[in-house]
Symmetry: D2
Subunit: 306 residues, 4 copies
Amino acid sequence: MPRLAYLGPEGTFTEEALRLLEPDAERLPCANVPAALAAARNGEADGAVVPLENSVEGAITTTLDEFAWGEPLLITAELLLPVRFSLLARPGTEIPHIKRVYTHPAAITQSRAFVARELPDAVVVAAPSTAAAAQEVSLPGSPYDAAIAAPIAGEHYGLVELAGDIGDRTDTVTRFVKVNRPGPLPEPTGSDRTTLVVFLADDHPGALLEMLTEFSVRGVNLSRIESRPTGDGIGRYFFHFDFEGHVADARVGEAIAGLHRVCGEVRFLGSYPRADGVSPQIKRGTSDTEFAEAAHWLARVRAGRV
Amino acid sequence: MPRLAYLGPEGTFTEEALRLLEPDAERLPCANVPAALAAARNGEADGAVVPLENSVEGAITTTLDEFAWGEPLLITAELLLPVRFSLLARPGTEIPHIKRVYTHPAAITQSRAFVARELPDAVVVAAPSTAAAAQEVSLPGSPYDAAIAAPIAGEHYGLVELAGDIGDRTDTVTRFVKVNRPGPLPEPTGSDRTTLVVFLADDHPGALLEMLTEFSVRGVNLSRIESRPTGDGIGRYFFHFDFEGHVADARVGEAIAGLHRVCGEVRFLGSYPRADGVSPQIKRGTSDTEFAEAAHWLARVRAGRV
Amino acid sequence: MPRLAYLGPEGTFTEEALRLLEPDAERLPCANVPAALAAARNGEADGAVVPLENSVEGAITTTLDEFAWGEPLLITAELLLPVRFSLLARPGTEIPHIKRVYTHPAAITQSRAFVARELPDAVVVAAPSTAAAAQEVSLPGSPYDAAIAAPIAGEHYGLVELAGDIGDRTDTVTRFVKVNRPGPLPEPTGSDRTTLVVFLADDHPGALLEMLTEFSVRGVNLSRIESRPTGDGIGRYFFHFDFEGHVADARVGEAIAGLHRVCGEVRFLGSYPRADGVSPQIKRGTSDTEFAEAAHWLARVRAGRV
Amino acid sequence: MPRLAYLGPEGTFTEEALRLLEPDAERLPCANVPAALAAARNGEADGAVVPLENSVEGAITTTLDEFAWGEPLLITAELLLPVRFSLLARPGTEIPHIKRVYTHPAAITQSRAFVARELPDAVVVAAPSTAAAAQEVSLPGSPYDAAIAAPIAGEHYGLVELAGDIGDRTDTVTRFVKVNRPGPLPEPTGSDRTTLVVFLADDHPGALLEMLTEFSVRGVNLSRIESRPTGDGIGRYFFHFDFEGHVADARVGEAIAGLHRVCGEVRFLGSYPRADGVSPQIKRGTSDTEFAEAAHWLARVRAGRV
């Protein structure tokens, strides 16, 4: 039974993601993303589950930076989790009683319409996380009457769900990834994603175009690009890329070897099955078979057998 | 005397930036970036000063998103402000007395070495902002002995600087921008920057490469690219671009007109003098003179005068 | 009634092309392509009709070079003429009598199968042109029994067609163009072609890719590219381009103005209706309407009206 | 002692090229380029020497087409031969006696100034080749008084050189290549050239740009591109490419394997030492060492050893 660290405390969306990814794992809640990844790195845990991006808030920059700078870890799975907020309270509380609500600022932003409509007179106070809000509300002497949090937080802290799915948008999604210490990669499934980080050797104009061309010329489609500061001053960035395919695919291998040649440093962050199960459209001339045929032809040409 | 809103409370780095950008302006502190921009939009203020990115933390995503989605505003100036943290306390406090320190999490991260060395036994508690931390510490009954904040916060709240420049890195910089409601643009200076936001009409593979080619073919160098979620699900992004030059430059104008044609929507966010004063290298064939000559030649060709 | 020079003598395929392009023109046969173009340039004729390329033999390099180097001329029309060879002889001659055949080397190559099958014992002798061959055969004391030439040559020289359409391929086509001294261009028809010549300022690696990018970024499709030596040594070339569209089209105008900016010298050779009547597929963002909208948007942006 | 076919008759520039390339070879003159290549293909000769391009006249299209369509041959050497024309006559002839000159049309064009100045009253008649002209002049009853031809033709046919180097330009050069039946390639020398032919699978717009990108992304510089008709109608072309480097170079191998994947058919025509001895500038990231390092890195990544 693997032991997986995650962004805690108990009752976070990350815990929910971990349970879906690895129902049987032992769960080790950690105070923040760096702590969860440290547990995976130092062997305290076998791996970790952390959020990578959210369809409303964007990238979780702490995760991006930790992946880029710390000891290498490999993403081995991903999960897309719909973000469903519930209004949670101690048993016996009814909506008209609620005067003070506690939740994370992102949840405040994302459930603004519900609060305005159903709790027009309530004060909403910012908490460090939605799970921490639920935990606080569960305490007998809490100054808060309700929390906005994941349904799972209610289960954990003995709260009752007064209203479910109260977010303004019903399609908000967070993408979580499971990471492990380096080891054999997940097998290609035909519907895979690869993630990597690129540091530029020299930040010349056109460097980004050059990188994208390494992908496009091999028919590899990018699905995400994020720039992050290197720390060496405004205007110095490194890049996170997600793209279609598995590093075992010939076109992906040649593309990232090309990046490795022309960029300063490339850190491979994993190839793993896509959560959405979508298979890429293989552009003419970029299938494994076509790569193999071309390699065979090239070997003949080099031997003068034309 | 213009009235400028800014990310408050008094004593923030943003206030310091505002004072440097517009020493004579009346200053209107606001609770957060959206509030400051709202004041600029609704006329309560003539403009606003907000942070855009930091050389360690990266983009201020709230600012990026507000610029993309709200009523149009134009960036009219930028400033690069070195981030210098001070250890601030009530008069009479000495370093050995300090047991509890209050500051913003980014400051915790960035002054970790100082705290470990000089305040090994102190507890550091997270505050909503460095200025709020200073304000809290200034209150007589405060449970905190010291704040880590901008020097300007000490002046505002009557605190004494026990140690200056205590950040782990001495080269951390935040980039601030001044925005105004749409109106005549700052004149080109020969060392300008232009910022815009692009929403894709359809998110086909290669769309980003296509956009970058619109810039590169006219010799316009990008200096920053950020992707942000559109909110419509994982995998749907829009893009923030900074690039060299002024929209009055022929090459910049043609490049962004090209973007406008091939992308879904382009929002222009301003052309303004670069804070670093660097002049771009003009690639052969992309100066205003060469554009004018080519236009003249084309007019002759179209008239059959070859 | 215009007077048009052409590649003579009477009875050439070029004469046939001229008759189709301008049935009512007065015809001035010339000894070769430079002579025909000289007549158009010096006013002896109002224009000229010359071959530009053949679907089997390729470019007529004399024509390409004359267009590039001499006084400017503009292509105002094109014609695709199927190449049909006939076996022509003096009246009374029958196929079994034919011992010696006279024709141009290209015609020898292209009617090899017919000759082998029908005239296995005949000697085939090279003539300066197919029309000259017909003319020679028409002379009473000619040592030749038959000519292979255009049907029109038979009419001219009083020869009888013993066999028609004797070429090995039935789909060979020659493209002819009519040129005039510079003046108002043919109106755009929606199915136009533009031709130009580009001399590189400096022959750096990637110059050709750079040129093609100027076209592709504006959605202009090339239909022909030819490299020709500049005369300044092996490895120094200039380029002939044919592409879809009329220089009055916004996308074409911007593309060639771009070429003008980044290349050494661009010589415009005309925009004229395509002989095949094919209309180009307009890539998204490159129609005249979209160019006009983008220009309008840019003007607003530059005025700060966003 | 190898036996090499060449474009005859004796006394052509091609013979001179052959003697420089292979001084000890047995020489087999042939009537034309196809015949010389046929001799190399069918084993009558061990190889052949033929002209490929001239710095004034451009490509020798017969050679290009023969290389593309016939049985495969490999270029194993190249030579750049300055074109020097001499005025040759039977012993005893003096310039003032010369009334009729015989030579190839290209030589007529290229020695126009000399003839106008020194032989203003002479009639110049077109011959099938310069060597044939010399041969004809050498016959006792010849109607011609002099030939313009290569100096070597004078030696062959017992003529006297009345004037040397009479061309209008002194820098005209012809590039010759030696071809052999397929077999081991010449070793890389660090200053090599590779030649190939590409047929497009489908002639979509942008196909040429796609091909050039396969080269440029691996830092391979093109030195020559020629389009030739496929014979299937105007607008259908195939392409001849010369580029820097040897197919044994990693960057060249990957580039042409890329072409092979995305194009219809690629015919390799050889890698061989450059006649000009120029070494290519290797773009960052494209040396063999960098390719090997990237391949090593990729192997580690695929094994999960990051």
